[in-house]
């Protein structure tokens, strides 16, 4: 048989096999299973990269917003690359100084063009250091953001590795799931203060 006819016969077999009616047995045709698997993987990839995922974080850096272990949160990947991210949002990002794709979860304190403290603001807890320290600030460069963990004493964040490129942001935390029955939308804690007198010296 000429090669062309052989090819044509293969194609016609393929077509009849693919168009074969459902016969009640789900696994039976390896080709169909392979195609189904490929479709499933593609769909899963799209879901994980572009819609919403539920993941969990481990570590003390976001206390008391997230527990050290066991808290899950919903990540919206619509906000990947820092799209529509505002100051006060919690983002999930690839840590720039690690090359094994480890993920960080921190709060954004500055978007491009904003001015932030490079160090740690002191509380009354550490008042003795307050008089000797030099508070330095910087302007967040274009295309970057400044992230700091909520528990500022136990967090490795922009104070150590500087501004984080927006391109490393995987998504924004939109809700927390502390247990299957405890679902809470995430609230932005960056709030407007109406009265200037609330600043206590």
């Amino acid at each position: 048989m000429a090669p062309f006819h052989r090819l044509a016969s293969i194609f016609s077999t393929l077509r009849t096999r693919l168009a074969a009616p459902y016969k009640g047995e789900w696994i039976g045709d390896p080709l169909r299973v392979a195609i189904f698997t490929a479709k499933f993987i593609c769909f899963a990839h799209l879901t994980v990269e572009y819609s919403y995922t539920v993941s969990h974080g481990v570590g003390p850096s976001m206390l008391p917003t997230f527990e050290v272990i066991g808290d899950c949160f919903v990540v919206s990947h619509r906000h990947r690359f820092g799209r529509d991210v505002m100051v006060g949002d919690i983002v999930v990002y690839n840590i720039p100084v690690n090359n094994n794709n480890s993920i960080g979860v921190k709060r954004v304190l500055g978007m491009p063009g904003d001015y932030v403290l490079t160090g740690t603001p002191h509380s009354y807890h550490s008042e003795s250091a307050a008089n000797t320290r030099k508070d330095l600030m910087l302007q967040v460069p274009p295309g970057h953001c400044w992230v700091v963990g909520d528990n500022i004493t136990a967090s490795r964040d922009s104070r150590i590795y500087g501004p984080v490129p927006l391109a490393l942001i995987r998504g924004k935390v939109v809700a927390t799931v502390k247990s299957p029955f405890d679902f809470q939308w995430m609230e932005n804690s960056f709030k407007k203060v109406d009265d200037d007198d609330t600043i206590e010296r």
Binding site: R107, D114, H125, M137, I199
Partner: protein, 125 residues
């Protein structure tokens, strides 16, 4: 990694906000310079957490609030946020109006020395 960033003392932030990311003086609606004390005030609370008794198993973890302050100002290109945690309460912040903060950036050095002496008298936040 991030490009090189210039850091500056927090007490001079009211001078540095006058220049945008492109290195030009920001333009505002009235043609005035940006007055940080007039911008909207925002607050954000972070925490310092510590274990009460690390030597005891299941010891309580306590978190102490650390208040951070921000100002959201506007120029012709839009809004930007300025952290004023270390700036609120300094001499420049209490002086407050545009006329005292509008000394040119060139004079920033002499002015900051002036502030330093004032700041040592006033309480820090």
């Amino acid at each position: 990694m991030a490009p090189t960033c210039v850091t500056f003392p927090a007490k001079d932030v009211h001078l540095h906000v006058q220049v945008g990311p492109d290195g030009r003086v920001r333009k505002t609606e009235g043609g005035l310079l940006i007055d940080l004390a007039d911008c909207e005030l925002f607050g954000l609370v972070q925490y310092e957490c510590s274990i009460d008794h690390p030597e005891i198993r299941d010891s309580k973890v306590r978190c102490w609030p650390v208040q951070r302050w921000f100002r959201r100002c506007q120029d012709r290109k839009g809004k930007f946020t300025v952290e004023t945690t270390a700036w609120e309460g300094t001499a420049a912040a209490s002086a407050g109006n545009t006329t005292t903060t509008t000394t040119t950036l060139a004079a920033a050095g002499s002015q900051s020395d002036d502030q330093k002496s004032k700041q040592s008298n006033s309480k820090s936040i």
